[in-house]
């Protein structure tokens, strides 16, 4: 039913990705460029710092050697004087401790702080021991590294202490040397003297000595130089540690990456919100579209059986409903489900929308949804329900109109049949009367008396039938004009029925008429109405009961009513026809019971007279299987309407 429109979706996810990629690329480029710039800048600066650092290192080494030499030179056999000099140095210089040994045995350890725990081990270091021997041998200060001081790399400055007058010859020195002074300096302390500028973060320094290497490996040394360490020459390399690469580029790259991710996430969220909004607009658009198409579709037919299935399926699809039910209200306002699509679940949300037409509720639209319906959807359903209400009302009006047309058509057919029957009745009766009259006139003399009497009797009977037919037609005309009036009064029903039955006997001339009346029964009725009722009762029995059967007229008291009934031995009136036989022009359409006589208005006239007299009419089965038609008259005035509004 609905015409769908295709909407172009935004390309936000790919746009966000593109933005992120651009940012990443840009940050990469910036990182590379900044890295290069930083590298260029750092190399120049760092080279200067490295040179200064190496110079400081050399100076520190020279100072340390000088102090140790000084301590050793000032030494004498007096250990106390050596200790005093050593204490002076350890308090103000880089040398952390002095160890005084003699013949490889620690004589004394001097530190500013007094800590001595690991110094004994240090003195036993084979490198130091070898340096001691060399110092004693050549009488000069030796510098060795690395040695271990409390687990950290250190240097040892080994200087021989002699008496001033006793160092001319080796032998003399060997014989007279009182001790060896060993100055210990941690490499870190030497490298980073207090209050001096340090290298850049990540910088590495490696010192290569004759005994080994101090410091971590240096990647791409910025500067390599040599420093003197007493009688030794050390090579010093300064550069960046392998893990200490400048991170400016990486920082830029990482920042770019985070920025790209943030941009991507932000754009994706924005896209999702926009898409959600677009989806909502799309749904509303389709719902409006559906309201429009529903309006057109609901006007295309006046047949609910054609409209409702399509309507229910479309509404269910558009609103994502589990089921759609359409109920129509009857004249009492009770709802009856006329169509259902889908199957509701217990957990579904139920929404009832009344179908209103002005002040009247013509039905109800009940929908079940597994998801709660938002207010806009409910409003849309209300709009659709209003359209459905119009369609339902129009269909009902059309249906009623069709029924009215069918009833009128049926009535028209009945009237045509009625006219044909009346014509036939009149023509037959008048032909018989005229024919018998002519026979009597033309063949009177030649005709025996018995034949003459028979013809006269037949003329009388046909005249009676004619009179009854004419009376019925006149009654019918008066009833149609609503001009028929009855004037009930108190009368002895038995007497009047007895009298009328005699006069109406020609109506059942082929039957045996039995009249059984209670002379005490009094009714509140119009004698004309009683006459017309009895005439039609007898006429009906005469038409439908087979000849030579008995027709019984009874008058009796029945409760507070005066009952007049006529029973015959005909086929009876089927239960399903007992209401319809009182409809004007209706005749039993049964091959066994149909008769050509009668206009089909007798029982309807009977009913009208009975209604106007306040009498009740009923049809039952007669004891012999025929029809028993009962008319119960009131025995006293029944309200004020009996005689006034006729």
């Amino acid at each position: 039913m609905a015409v769908r429109t295709r909407r172009l979706r935004s390309r936000a996810p790919s746009t966000a990705i593109s933005f992120a990629v651009v940012i990443v690329l840009a940050s990469t480029v910036i990182a590379v460029l900044s890295q290069n710039a930083a590298n260029t800048h750092d190399r120049e600066v760092e080279r200067g710092r490295a040179a200064a650092h190496i110079a400081r290192l050399g100076a520190q080494l020279s100072a340390t050697v000088a102090w140790t030499t000084e301590v050793a030179a000032d030494a004498s056999t007096d250990v106390t004087s050596i200790a005093a000099a050593a204490l002076r140095v350890t308090t103000s210089g880089p040398v952390e401790a002095f160890v005084l040994t003699r013949d490889g045995v620690v004589q004394r350890t001097i530190t500013a702080s007094g800590a001595t725990s690991r110094l004994g081990d240090t003195a036993a270091d084979p490198v130091i021991t070898a340096a001691e021997a060399a110092a004693i041998a050549d009488g000069t200060t030796h510098v060795v590294a690395p040695v271990s001081l409390d687990g950290a790399p250190a240097i040892a400055v080994v200087g021989p202490a002699y008496a001033a007058d006793d160092k001319s010859t080796l032998e003399a020195r060997r014989a007279s040397h009182p001790a060896v002074v060993i100055g210990l300096v941690r490499f870190a302390t030497l490298r980073h003297p207090p209050d001096q500028p340090t290298l850049w973060p990540g910088a590495a320094v490696r010192i290569i000595t004759q005994q080994g290497t101090i410091g971590a490996a240096v990647r791409h040394p910025l500067l390599t130089s040599e420093v003197r360490a007493g009688d030794a020459v050390w090579r010093v390399e300064v550069g960046n540690a392998p893990s200490g690469t400048p991170i400016v580029g990486w920082l830029v790259f990482l920042t770019g990456l985070i920025a790209a991710a943030a941009v991507f996430l932000a754009m994706r969220r924005q896209h999702q919100e926009r898409r959600r909004a677009e989806d909502e607009v799309d749904v509303r658009s389709r719902q409006l579209e559906m309201i429009a198409t529903t309006s057109a579709a609901l006007q295309q037919s006046l047949n609910l059986a054609e409209l409702l299935p399509t309507f229910a399926v479309d509404v269910s699809d558009e609103f994502g409903l589990a089921s759609v039910s359409i109920l129509v209200a009857d004249d009492h306002g009770d709802f009856t489900e006329v169509f259902r699509y889908g199957r509701p679940l217990r957990a579904d949300e139920t929404v009832n929308v009344d179908l209103r037409r002005g002040w009247r509720t013509v039905g109800r639209l009940t929908v079940h949804s597994s998801q709660p319906l938002d207010p806009v959807s409910v409003q849309s359903l209300q709009a659709i329900a209003d359209l459905l209400a119009i369609a339902v009302t129009n269909a009902q009006l059309y249906q009623r109109e069709q029924q009215a047309v069918a009833r009128l058509s049926e009535l028209d057919a009945l009237k045509n049949a009625f006219l044909g029957t009346v014509s036939h009745e009149l023509r037959t009766a008048t032909t018989a009367v005229q024919g018998f009259g002519e026979l009597l006139t033309e063949h009177w003399d030649a005709m025996p008396d018995a034949r003459r009497r028979e013809l006269a009797s037949r003329i009388r009977r046909q005249a009676g039938s004619l009179r009854h037919l004419v009376d019925d037609l006149l009654d019918y005309a008066r009833l149609e004009r609503e001009s028929l009036r009855v004037s009930p009064r108190e009368l002895v029903l038995g007497d009047i029925v007895q009298h009328l039955a005699d006069s109406f006997s020609p109506l059942v001339s082929s039957h045996e008429l039995v009249v059984d009346v209670d002379p005490e029964v009094v009714a509140w009725a119009d004698p004309i109405a009683v006459e017309r009722i009895l005439a039609n009762l007898l006429s009906n029995a005469g038409k439908y009961a087979p000849p030579a059967t008995t027709v019984t007229v009874t008058v009796a008291r029945h409760g507070d009513r005066a009952r007049l009934s006529v029973a015959d031995e005909g086929p009876g009136i089927p239960l399903e026809d007992r209401r319809r036989v009182f409809v004007r022009f209706y005749r039993l359409d049964n091959s066994e019971t149909i008769r050509t006589h009668g206009a089909g208005i007798g029982l309807s006239i009977l009913r009208d007279f009975a209604d106007r007299s306040g009498a009740e009419v009923a049809i039952e089965d007669a004891p012999g299987g025929g029809a028993l038609i009962i008319v119960d008259f009131p025995t006293a005035p029944v309200g004020a309407t009996t005689a006034e509004d006729m």
């Binding site: 044909g420 023509r427 018989a432 005229q434 024919g435 082929s510 008769r595 050509t596």
Partner: protein, 128 residues
């Protein structure tokens, strides 16, 4: 009309007693070879009488309790195409006459012209 036959027997089919009686008296009064072969008040009785009496002419009312006279005529003519039938009915309209002629009914006579029936019986009775 030629030489009159020695007899002309008619079957009267009508649901009204008085009409049957009138036609019988008319036919008997006309005499001169006209006779009533039988009477029937329904279509069923008509076929029974028709087959047993084999009348020369069937005088057939159109409005009967169990079916129409034209239906009876159609069945009789299907069985005996040369059967002479006169449709004798109270209400004759053009449609009824056309249908009767199409079936092969010899004549249609309105009931108010009952006095013409004896002549019609001669006219449409058995050939001389």
């Amino acid at each position: 009309m030629g030489v009159a036959p020695r007899s002309n027997r008619a079957l009267i089919v009508d649901d009204d007693d008085d009409m049957r009686f009138l036609l019988r008296v008319l036919i008997e009064a006309a005499n001169e070879g006209l006779a009533v072969a039988g009477e029937a008040r329904t279509a069923q009785e008509a076929f029974e009488q028709w087959r047993t009496q084999e009348p020369d002419v069937v005088v057939l009312d159109n409005r009967m309790p169990d079916c129409s006279g034209l239906d009876v005529a159609a069945e009789m003519l299907a069985e005996r195409p040369d059967q002479s039938i006169i449709l004798f009915t109270a209400f004759l309209d053009d449609e009824t006459i056309a249908r009767a002629e199409a079936l092969g009914v010899r004549a249609c006579l309105s009931k108010d012209r009952y006095d013409e029936l004896p002549a019609a019986l001669w006219q449409y009775g058995p050939a001389a």
